[in-house]
Subunit: 121 residues, 2 copies
């Protein structure tokens, strides 16, 4: 049988919009999503789940109410559930997210940046 | 407050043994683990969970009973639960694993390659 690798670069070439995570794989009830970030996102939290950010290319700041973490390529961070955060990318940044299926990118925040969920590429 | 990135290279410099995944982060009940693979692992499966392999550096084959998938840097694969597989790395390969806390690397196989579980670096 033919098995195919999931290639990040190939998947990233399939979309250009920012702040709109695309699902590339599912493991149990969790999904792996690629996203392109640029500019400032909205303050939000996810009350029911932690969220993994892995930087594939570029740099990402995740701001918290009392500090921030700066991530470069090959670095990651786990934002704990319920913790308010705001991703900021001064240049375009490509990110791999890991989180349960069904998580909305803006959490419970009311924002125009809310993306359609569960979109596979 | 001071927040620190988790850096794959820095974590990978902390161990050298093969086939011995080290936990670098936890998200809900799931763990992210770094491992160095070289040579052939044992045939095994994980009856209760899917397993994510993300290649950080090098190349990895995952053999199945009826085929294989070849992964290079920047590629990933999800091995479905219950599917027998055998990772093979002809040169040393550095891999990020995502799986539920408590998963044993050799599944239910009886092997000298069984690693201590839940070891953080």
């Amino acid at each position: 049988m033919q098995y195919s690798a999931i290639n990040f670069s190939e998947k990233l070439s399939k979309f250009s919009e920012h702040w709109s995570p695309k699902v590339i794989a599912q493991m149990n009830d969790y999904q792996l999503k690629l996203a392109k970030f640029q500019g400032e996102f909205v303050w939000h939290d996810h009350p029911d789940t932690d969220e993994v950010f892995i930087v594939i290319e570029g740099c990402l700041d995740i701001e918290f109410r009392d500090g921030k973490v700066s991530l470069a390529e090959g670095e990651m961070y786990v934002v704990p559930k319920g913790v308010e955060h705001k991703p900021v990318a001064y240049q375009e940044c490509k990110v791999l997210l890991v989180e349960p299926r069904g998580v909305v990118n803006t959490g419970e925040a009311d924002s125009s940046l809310k993306a359609e969920n569960d979109v596979w590429i």
